[in-house]
């Protein structure tokens, strides 16, 4: 199934998708993110790790401007996606969020049917001309969310009635249904049991074929398992960023080392 072109890109790994420079985030008077520079590559899984409250989720939410919905939050510096500054005045956050999808910490299916949950994004963006196209998009998304087989017979059942792992995969399917280019995942497995987590992890691995995936995680094992690049955040600073293998086997910074060996966290 794999396209050779994509294969090639995968190996080169030099295609920068997101580039952040000098990012500062303030919550009222609280300086939450301090001068972060990072380049995130296409068709790669990048993991953000670090102790609680270190700002990794905050930074993630900057990437699709979800912080806009919080009144007291201010963002400085530049974040470019495909060479466009997403905090530019002319940028439309709605189109941005279509391009940069997001999966949240707690599964949050809408109180609608499974079908409507997944179809919601395509509908508001007008991606389908008719019902059969929409059906196709929904099926494709559910397949890509690795949940099609489990729900194909009950697409009209409410999404809230599924198990936690299924709900989270519905949310992932919902996110990929709008054909984003980047997928942000905020601790997608923290509310799941180990079996559901491993299903989601497998899914993430498949997703990197088509998307640039950024995942925030608490679990270093998970970061090591799913990601190619890892960024370590501590107290609002980006301490270290590099290939996952490097970070875990040979960290350059003392703080990274302490965290990985379990002395802080």
């Amino acid at each position: 199934m794999k396209d050779s072109r994509i294969e090639e890109r995968d190996t080169t790994m030099n295609d920068t998708k997101i580039s952040a420079r000098g990012v500062q985030v303030y919550y009222a008077d609280n300086h939450a993110i301090k001068d972060v520079d990072v380049e995130i590559q296409d068709k790669t899984v990048t993991a953000f790790i670090g102790p609680s409250g270190c700002g990794k989720t905050t930074f993630l939410r900057c990437l699709n401007r979800m912080n806009d919905t919080i009144d007291i939050c201010r963002v400085k510096g530049t974040i470019e996606i495909d060479g466009e500054d997403i905090y530019d005045k002319r940028i439309d956050p709605v189109q941005l969020r279509r391009k940069v999808g997001m999966v949240f910490q707690k599964p949050n299916p809408f109180p609608k049917s499974i079908y409507d949950n997944v179809a919601y994004g395509p509908k508001i963006h007008g991606m389908a001309r008719n019902k059969s196209e929409l059906d196709e998009i929904v099926e494709k998304a559910l397949r890509r969310g690795a949940i099609w087989d489990e729900v194909k017979d009950r697409l009209n059942a409410p999404g809230t009635g599924l198990s936690g792992g299924q709900q989270q995969r519905i949310c992932i399917a919902r996110a990929v249904a709008t054909e984003p280019e980047i997928l942000l995942m905020d601790e997608p497995c923290s509310a799941l049991d180990p079996i559901a987590s491993s299903q989601v992890e497998e899914l993430i691995d498949e997703l990197k074929e088509n998307y640039s995936v950024v995942i925030v995680t608490h679990s270093m094992q998970q970061a090591a398992r799913v990601s190619q690049k890892t960024a370590f955040f501590h107290l609002g600073n980006l301490v270290e960023y590099g290939d996952t293998d490097e970070i875990f086997t040979n960290p350059q910074d003392k703080r990274t080392e302490s965290y990985i060996t379990g002395r802080i966290g």
Binding site: D71, F104, N108, Y120, H125
Partner: protein
């Protein structure tokens, strides 16, 4: 002994009990507080409670029950022949009570001895003149029958009073003695006091149930009486409402129900969109400063009494609608109309709908909004397609509560809707409601023996059942909704 004296004596006894028990408890511990089980004041309070509370409970119950029992006994002793002469038993009893009160006053004032009062005969002297000499006015010269009954009343009341005094004082003294006996160092007075207070608290909580029982009782008996005089099928299914004081009225409820529902419908038509959109705007869009100003302003509407809205309907909205809508468009020329009452009631309900919806919209978890924004939907798409569907059950509950308010609202319809019972579709015509008719049948001179008055209780019961059903349903829906997101 007058009742208030009895009351004061019991209180004094209670205070005495407080000091005595405190003293005795301290003495039992040899004057050392530390050897006591409870604080000395607690022993005192215990004694005061034991002295006062049972005695006063008996006193209160006696005062309420005695007149009822007395009435029953005395009215039972009046022969039926006398009743037919006067027309009604209650009229005779009113006479009897007046004479008895006169005798009481006369004896209390010292103008008459008790024996004299009991031996008076109607034919011997004019009772009326005799009383007038003593400065007591009695309307008409009493008959022998009513005088007899009044004397019986007087006799029983005197006996009852003495019995009450003895029993109440006895209860107080017993409580006093018992508590004093238990004012010892090894007795847990605190537990005893706390039990009493707990009893008081439970009693207060039970008043809620008593009120409901009172509401139901006050209407059920009179309604039963009404249905014994008037066919219930006529009442519920007749479309004709035409009470006449000379009898032969038609008392069909349907026109009133129609008016009630029509007005409530218009009110909801006004209040629901405005209230809901205001709630959405204030909770999802408005900045903190706009919210801080607009929210209290809208809530001021909720604090305005309904009589104010009624007056507004009567002197402003009604004439305005008549002059600018109804008359030019040929819909009639009444200033009180379904439209007037409905519009004004709608204004009254706006804050009700908006603050309930506001709570409910705020209860929708932020994660759902985030999920929707994360997919690239605009704010209004999020509100319409995610927040509102999620809040729908709660909003339905809020609308049902608002509907129950509208159905039970009185002053706006009394002043704005008119008094003509009519079933018409024209909203500019005057119609009337259940509540308006309850007011009109129960104010002024009322005769509790005619179906024209009693029908108000049947209307009240119907109204109560309707609103109760709506409330129970609404509260159930809202509670289910809240549990879903907790």
């Amino acid at each position: 002994m007058p009742t208030h004296w009895l009351f004061l004596i019991v209180l004094a006894l209670g205070i005495a009990g407080w000091f005595a028990a405190r003293q005795k408890a301290l003495a039992s511990a040899g004057g050392s507080m530390r050897a006591l089980h409870s604080l000395p004041n607690t022993y005192g309070t215990n004694a005061a409670i034991w002295t006062i509370v049972p005695a006063l409970l008996i006193l209160g119950a006696w005062i309420v029950i005695q007149p009822v029992v007395l009435d029953h006994w005395v009215s039972g002793s009046i022969p039926d022949s006398a009743v037919t002469d006067a027309g009604d038993r209650s009229l005779v009893m009113a006479d009897v009570r007046r004479i008895a009160a006169g005798l009481n006053l006369a004896v209390a004032g010292g103008g008459l001895s008790a024996e004299e009062a009991l031996s008076m005969q109607a034919d011997a002297v004019s009772i009326r003149e005799r009383m007038a000499d003593l400065g007591i006015a009695i309307g008409t010269e009493p008959t022998q029958v009513s005088l007899d009954a009044a004397q019986k009343w007087f006799r029983i009341e005197r006996v009852g009073r003495i019995a009450m005094t003895v029993i109440v004082l006895g209860a107080a003294a017993t409580g006093f003695a018992l508590a004093l006996l238990r004012a010892r160092r090894d007795v847990n007075a605190r537990a005893s006091v706390e039990r009493a207070i707990l009893g008081l608290l439970i009693g207060a909580a039970l008043i809620a149930i008593l009120t409901t029982v009172g509401i139901v009782m006050s209407m059920v008996f009179e309604t039963a009486d009404f249905f014994s005089r008037y066919s219930w099928t006529e009442f519920f299914f007749s479309t004709d409402w035409d009470p006449r004081f000379q009898g032969g009225s038609s008392l069909g409820m349907l026109p009133l129900l129609w008016g009630t529902l029509y007005i409530s419908f218009i009110a909801l038509l006004v209040a629901v969109p405005i209230g809901l959109f205001a709630a959405i705007y204030l909770s999802e869009y408005a900045g903190p400063r706009v919210r801080a100003v607009a929210k209290p302003l809208i809530e001021v509407l909720a604090g305005i009494p309904t009589i104010v809205y009624g007056l507004f309907a009567l002197i402003t909205v009604g004439p305005f609608l008549r002059d600018y809508f109804a008359q030019p468009m040929g819909f009639g020329n009444s200033s009180s109309s379904v439209m007037t009452a409905g519009l004004v009631m709608g204004i009254m309900l706006i804050p009700f709908v908006s603050s309930l919806s506001d709570d409910i919209i705020n209860a929708v978890p932020q994660s759902l909004r985030d999920g929707s924004y994360g997919l690239g939907s605009t704010q209004s798409e999020t509100v319409r397609q995610v927040v509102l569907p999620a809040a729908l059950p709660g909003i339905v509950g809020a609308i049902l509560l608002a509907a129950s308010r509208a159905i039970g609202e009185t002053m706006i319809v009394v002043l704005g809707a008119g008094a003509a019972a009519r079933m018409s579709l024209n909203p500019f015509e005057a119609m009337t409601t259940v509540t308006v008719k309850i007011v009109s049948q129960l104010t002024g001179d009322t005769d509790f023996n005619s179906p024209e008055t009693l029908v108000a209780f049947a209307l009240g019961l119907t109204l109560f059942v309707m609103t109760l059903a709506l409330n129970v349903l609404a509260l159930y829906i809202v509670r289910r909704y809240r549990e879903q997101y907790e």
